[in-house]
Amino acid sequence: MSMKIEDKLFLDRFKVNQESHLRIIDGEKCMKDCHEQPCLYLCPANVYRLEGDRISVNYEGCLECGSCRIGCPHLNIEWCFPVGGYGVSHKFG
């Protein structure tokens, strides 16, 4: 039986900040100029999801790998670390 990404993330411990540490700089660019939209594939936490005519950023489950930041062909993602102590906390690592 295959495990869904939601079930995987459910196992992790997150301390979620009110404010997102990820931001799409220009949402219009994603829909107009970005044909590949690799963020929808390469993010290991499925943070980026196509919802109607926009890409939503579900930063709460971000695993902080940085892939979206450098994988975005238009470098259209503003990425900083969550505030100290926030974000994912590995129990095993």
Partner: protein, 434 residues
Amino acid sequence: MKEAFDVAIVGAGPAGISAACILAEAKIKTIVFERGEYPGSKNMSGAVLYGHDLAQILPDYIERNCPVERNIVESRIWYLSREGGYSLGYRDSIFTTDLKYNVFTVLRAKFDRWYAEQARSKGVLIVPSTVVIDLLRNDSGAVVGVVTGRRDGEIRAKVTLLADGINSPLAARTGFRAEPKPEQVALAVKETIELPSEVIEQRFGVSSADGVTIEILGQITEGMDGVAAIYTNRNSLSLAIGANLADFASFKIKPYELVETFKQHPMVAPLISSGKTLEYMAHWLPEGGYDAIPDLYGDGYLIAGDSAMLFNALHREGSNLAMASGKMAAETIVEAIRRDDYSRKGLAGYGERLAESYVIKDLRKYRRLGSFLYHRKEIFNQFPRLASFAGREMLTVNGVSKKQKQKLILNTVRKEISMFRLFRFLWQAWRSIR
């Protein structure tokens, strides 16, 4: 904070903590910033560690109750097609006696926390839950401390060691290391899978406290330049799979689906059967090799570990290179402080130490390997498929003579790959690792 320190270290991982231990022993006032809730909470690797480099920092790490999961007595390599594959392993009793703890597994959230605790007991100040967002510079551009995300968060230091890992927005922001290109990193996802220790010992054929590592190549990465691994911990298995980030983007493969397919492979499934996933993580591996290593020191700063792109993909060595480079950085800082010279020239001993060490020598030896693997995708699809075809054919008893089988295999291979291409491949493979 108005207090001034001799050394500020960014990141409480193997590089930063190794440096901190050496500095504390030299009575140098050191502060370490860690963005996680506790050291190790953001870190991930296979994870194997090598006793040699740890013993250089803490000779008595075993007596200090280092959280070793299992002492590795056997290393296996698998080359897999979709349905099967080859397995090669080496086990030696010397790894339970004279060479015990040559390699052992750890869980990074536990190990890093313990390691930082050792530094703290030597007098290092470790500040968790604190992100370093910028570096302080003087008028001539030399680094003179760090800026943290806390209120009044400027800390002055004579030297700053950047040991903040491969994913470093700080490096990108300050320009000390260029942001990696997608093809310069691998993205790996990992699951910790719980199993009773007796079950692990039975499945891997080891006695208690001993363990096995398996490195896996082949069609498991679905044609992408990548690798997987299964390591034994005391009561769990570490199962990881990763591939070049540029490949993930162009193949449109989702990492969390890749790991699920991997778990169902006929050689993997029986090992993890009835296991319960405890945690799911993701992290980059520096894949740029020797040519991606940035300038490792300058006025007032040094870079060590993953942040410096010191990673040997072929030999799964990362944490030990972090420890070794952290140690060399610290030794250089000790000299600089004695001379009161924190300029690029005063820190040049770091470059010299690294160049003479196995760290840089190994990375130089394999400098062509990363690009070779990235461009020779047949290693991850066509070759394992053909190799499995050959294995299956030779092991099937069906009344066909072995000579005829051999001919069939050769003809099948030749139909797909010309001898010229095969020889060129082998030549390039040799050149990439010699």
